[in-house]
Symmetry: C5
Amino acid sequence: MRRFIYNQSENIGLPPGTVRETAASSRTVEITLTDYSLQHCHEKLVQHIEECLPFQQSPSVTWINLEGVNPSVIKSLNGHFQIHPLVSEDIMHSGQRPKMEVYDQYIFIVLKMIYFQDGTDEITDEQVSLILGPGYVMSFQEKPGDVFGPIRRRIREGKGRIRGEGADYLAYSLLDAIVDNYFLVLEKRGEDLERLEEGILDESGSGVLQDIHQFKKEIIYLRKQVWPLREVVSALQRSESSLITAPTQVYLRNVYDHTIQVIDSIESFRDMITGMHDIYLSSISNRLNEIMKMLTMFSAIFIPMTFLAGVYGMNFKYMPELNWRWGYFGVLGLMVGITVGMIMFFKNKKWL
Amino acid sequence: MRRFIYNQSENIGLPPGTVRETAASSRTVEITLTDYSLQHCHEKLVQHIEECLPFQQSPSVTWINLEGVNPSVIKSLNGHFQIHPLVSEDIMHSGQRPKMEVYDQYIFIVLKMIYFQDGTDEITDEQVSLILGPGYVMSFQEKPGDVFGPIRRRIREGKGRIRGEGADYLAYSLLDAIVDNYFLVLEKRGEDLERLEEGILDESGSGVLQDIHQFKKEIIYLRKQVWPLREVVSALQRSESSLITAPTQVYLRNVYDHTIQVIDSIESFRDMITGMHDIYLSSISNRLNEIMKMLTMFSAIFIPMTFLAGVYGMNFKYMPELNWRWGYFGVLGLMVGITVGMIMFFKNKKWL
Amino acid sequence: MRRFIYNQSENIGLPPGTVRETAASSRTVEITLTDYSLQHCHEKLVQHIEECLPFQQSPSVTWINLEGVNPSVIKSLNGHFQIHPLVSEDIMHSGQRPKMEVYDQYIFIVLKMIYFQDGTDEITDEQVSLILGPGYVMSFQEKPGDVFGPIRRRIREGKGRIRGEGADYLAYSLLDAIVDNYFLVLEKRGEDLERLEEGILDESGSGVLQDIHQFKKEIIYLRKQVWPLREVVSALQRSESSLITAPTQVYLRNVYDHTIQVIDSIESFRDMITGMHDIYLSSISNRLNEIMKMLTMFSAIFIPMTFLAGVYGMNFKYMPELNWRWGYFGVLGLMVGITVGMIMFFKNKKWL
Amino acid sequence: MRRFIYNQSENIGLPPGTVRETAASSRTVEITLTDYSLQHCHEKLVQHIEECLPFQQSPSVTWINLEGVNPSVIKSLNGHFQIHPLVSEDIMHSGQRPKMEVYDQYIFIVLKMIYFQDGTDEITDEQVSLILGPGYVMSFQEKPGDVFGPIRRRIREGKGRIRGEGADYLAYSLLDAIVDNYFLVLEKRGEDLERLEEGILDESGSGVLQDIHQFKKEIIYLRKQVWPLREVVSALQRSESSLITAPTQVYLRNVYDHTIQVIDSIESFRDMITGMHDIYLSSISNRLNEIMKMLTMFSAIFIPMTFLAGVYGMNFKYMPELNWRWGYFGVLGLMVGITVGMIMFFKNKKWL
Amino acid sequence: MRRFIYNQSENIGLPPGTVRETAASSRTVEITLTDYSLQHCHEKLVQHIEECLPFQQSPSVTWINLEGVNPSVIKSLNGHFQIHPLVSEDIMHSGQRPKMEVYDQYIFIVLKMIYFQDGTDEITDEQVSLILGPGYVMSFQEKPGDVFGPIRRRIREGKGRIRGEGADYLAYSLLDAIVDNYFLVLEKRGEDLERLEEGILDESGSGVLQDIHQFKKEIIYLRKQVWPLREVVSALQRSESSLITAPTQVYLRNVYDHTIQVIDSIESFRDMITGMHDIYLSSISNRLNEIMKMLTMFSAIFIPMTFLAGVYGMNFKYMPELNWRWGYFGVLGLMVGITVGMIMFFKNKKWL
């Protein structure tokens, strides 16, 4: 549950824009540089951020991808690319809300990528920051991973339009890859929801309540990620920054549509799970009531018979029936009659 | 339930605008060409999309209708009509959210048509895409069907104003036909709702809970289709594109009104079904409570009598009442008295 | 319930603007013409719509009121007054949502009038269409009725300002009369709600659940009528059409205030009925629980006594108590003691 | 509950702006005139409205306060001050929604003042109308009362800035006095809510449900008054009328803040009472369930023992146990064992 | 709960802008003056407010911090700094809603700081008012406290950018410190929520209901504080006042983001606690139902056996079974059979 609060308290009292040394500071950062144009494509693993500078200034598109966040690397970027200290701070601290900020020289985007922890069924998120400047894109991933692999391959192999387009198209592609991942997660959850619904109809499913609770929590979590994501993409698309060209805006509109679809699905899930919770409660209660009703009626049938047996178990001296020849069998017959009568009464009342 | 997620995951990692070969690819596509003006009307089944080109360039209105989607046909359209690759992609993949996009040369519209699967009671949807260009309309249906039959007939027979109007009026007519189908579905569902309500009052209806759940799911589904539909029609009506003339805008306002009516009805249904669920739960619980109360009172009447019988069934040596002449009958009388007294007590308390 | 769907399906497949012959077609239409200015007032029953034309062109205000809708009459109006075919269609088909449309030559308004079916307690609605042109107003009522009677009287007797004002003031007066009827209906319902609330507190009221359901349905229905009504009046008031003069706009603001009051009342009713439903459910359940608790405690008191009687009803040979002189009375005393003890225990626990 | 509908029906059919003779017509009206500037302050009770006219035309600020509404007085005001007939109508009929209307010569404001009926705990409201013209303010109170007393005193004693400011400042002061009264009512209700909450935790409180219902109704009522009040103050503050000077607008902003605070408090109350209702229902149900569980377990303990006693009460000839020397005491011991065992079982299951 | 109403009633009837003598009036106020620029930093404790004046007029940044509110001090500030009387009033009375007001010479900000009462777990709030003028900031704290300590230290030690920036940056820093405190409180509450959730799953947790109620109340309270806070920061950021420079606006955007994160967290908490309440109620009711079901089935098994024992306890003369050699054991066997049969029946029905 901790992930429902943005983690800010550790920064309290520090001047804004402070890039603090954290536990993660000593982690190594893998920096990949990709420089390409229609004619060439150059990829290399970079040791020091300074190696990227000449590429950045060239007219070709430069993509600097950092896996892992490390204060010292961020700081040196800070210097070379004239990044605002608040941006550096945001990149370093993973508890950000998705947002877009237009600065004079670049656009800064923070996003949450969501995916399933390898092999497990649990949704994890990872903060991805993008800086789109003139002719370059910097992307910062919290953890190593290959979500941008297909894009790198497309650049390398010259598939699609990406090699012929500018840095804004690259930023769009990265954005698109992140949004696409939401669909993967939602599709999996859609199947889970279907299974859960069957479990409810089954009437056997214990643990259903727990599952519903889990699902609801996840949806609260996803909504919290997706609504600001939508704002980000919308702001990008409507942005008047010269960094984003008109043709790319058509593609951003497409990403925006996808985001809306993600939101639509999540809202539908929310309505579905609420509905399922209601149905579950109703059916649980119906079923229990049915049992209680059956048992109560069962008791009710025996009550007058037991009473009758009690009556003839009394020890009064003068009880004429006790001496009748067929008294016993008469009482037995009476009991059968009571039973039949009560069952018929219940049937008649539609209680049975 | 799967239909609650837009199907996007299969495209992940592909460059945008990719028209992939899918299972549906080998399906044949039926292309119908209709070219008309006030003076003439020409209909033919087309083998290759190229045959349409001369008609498109003529001043008369050209309607190219494709039933079934096939990547290669879409691709060749792509080339001949300068369609943006993202549009081709959207036409091919049926998981789109209703939307309208204005491009320089044409307006692209994606809609969901809903109808009942033949003979069944289940709502199906089908994606219909429209491209409105200068002097031509292209319509793409996922599956063969005759929803546009009446319009074709009106063109052929010259009924109404359609022959004298331009391509925008044709697009409006197709839109109108699609929206009208919603009314058919809603009217059917309105009757179902009425029947469901009677079932609830009947108090017999098992399966009611299941029906309510189904209804609620359907309404979630319909809302998800209709709200973006409203946006599409509203955007079309307010569009300043030169492709849509002022007189047609009056007609589009009419379609917009219809869409609002559809939304109104769906929202009313939603409120109704929620209300019915509440009433159902209340009445189920009332009824059960009534039964339990009756049975409990029934037991309560027998409890003191059984106790009394127990008392006189004890085997103490010195129990004077046992030897009384009328002891037995006295006790029987006492029991009758208790019964009468308790029933009167219950009546007095208004429990009975 | 059928009234929750706008009735559109019968028009499907027809060209827009079609005025179809319906069952109602042969119904006679009563056309009343009222022509007035500050100096004169002329009323007559008109046989053919053509008789109205000379009045319409005169500078005085002309009010043409049609009771009953008849396609052929509408069609001839259509011709003489240059009414858009979509307007004719809307007038003919009673399933419209309240709306206002500004055309070049006139303003078209569709409204729902609501009232109680004579003598009954059921709310009915009737579609009223108004066309406000330069110097004339046409009003179309679905059924004969006298809702506009007071206005006609005011014109005839020259009461108030109506004779000195233009056609827009007449249109305002008709609108005002329709909105006023909502108050009548709401006041009646307010009293019903009060009675219903007393019924709930009474705790006797069976049928309360049914009443609440009915009330809720009615409120859903009324909201659906009133919200678009508000839009209509608001659009009229803010309209920049030259057909509506500045002084009349002050009066329209007044009608708008009334509409808001109607909405306020309906929303309050909605909150009230929801609250009452909650209270009803709570009190029903409280009451039943009270009964069950009482009965269960009643049983609980007898259980140990019956057990005790059972013990001394056993037939063991060696049960010393059975032979004691005061054994029987001792057991009876013990039973009284148990009863008293348990009642005190229950009182102590505040269960009684 | 009647106060949830604005009372309009009595006016139906009358021309707008009609000031009808009502039951209240013969009531006397107390007219107080206060004329002041920095130098002088003149107060008097006025018999005929005409006496006010010379004061109104003087450059000093004139405040005409009417307690009680009387059609003939309103009518004569109507004439002397050129008030729009709709305004006169609104002043006369107390069922108005708070609103502000800007006319050419004056601003018209209708408000609801709320307060506790003397000595009782019930909220009453009273309609207060204000007309702010150049150099004068007219205020209309439905009933006599001294809510404006402190302001009169401030004028008389020259306390604060009021004597040095214009008519707009006076109007602000009256508004402020009315809004302040809301705080008095809310504070009282806040205390009631606190007491109610304690009652819920007490678990003794019968009548709590009734109180909650009452509270909810009151909140529905208050919200209905306060939201339009906010609109009024907001419109006044943003108004560009020359009647309101810039320094007064700063004060109006203050009143606006107060109104927002009132709304905040009411919304908080609403959330609180909803929460309390939930908690109340949960705790009532928890408590009852606890009782039922206890009683059911109590019964369950006796059931096998009673059965055992029944077994040895059977009259079979050959029941060897009956003749055993310690049979009786063995059975008694067995019974004790069963009791202990079951209690331990319940404890183990955490049911006890 | 009293804190849910803004405390205004004590001012009723007083002229606006009155700074009343209250109980707190005699409390001493600690005034700290900090004057700094890039070159110097001067701190001192001030006895009389007049000592600050020369600093205020110097070009360096002057920060006057008042701990404790005292009418006479506020009044003298009032005179020296030309503060509007309404501002003085707002500073004095702690029941303000967070707001920002732009005056000609300064910006006035009221905020709520929230923190945990020392050592306890209870959230307290304190009103903090800021006045940002040209070259100076005045801050008013209700109670002594060290929330601004880190900022004072940063100024003193020249850490960060604060010494080189203007008064607007100082105001931003104070704002930031206040918003940061919200994170501290939320993080603590996040952990509490987690513990509460475990308590619910534990099924042992009594007092859970009380905790949930408490939590809900706190969230209502926090929302009421945070939403206006957001408005304040947003208005500040978008403000066009010359008092706020462009670089500071970037920092204010950062504070705004934090505020949104706070709101996000609170809204998530709200959804979470609602979900947990639902789950709690469901699981409580499930658990109780399980117990009742078990006990009822337990009773149901004994009912026919007890009846059987009753039958053979009857004293009829002619009951052949009584004389059978194995009658007793046969009945015992029958009883075992009934028990086994019923258990199997229950298992079969999946009731067990």
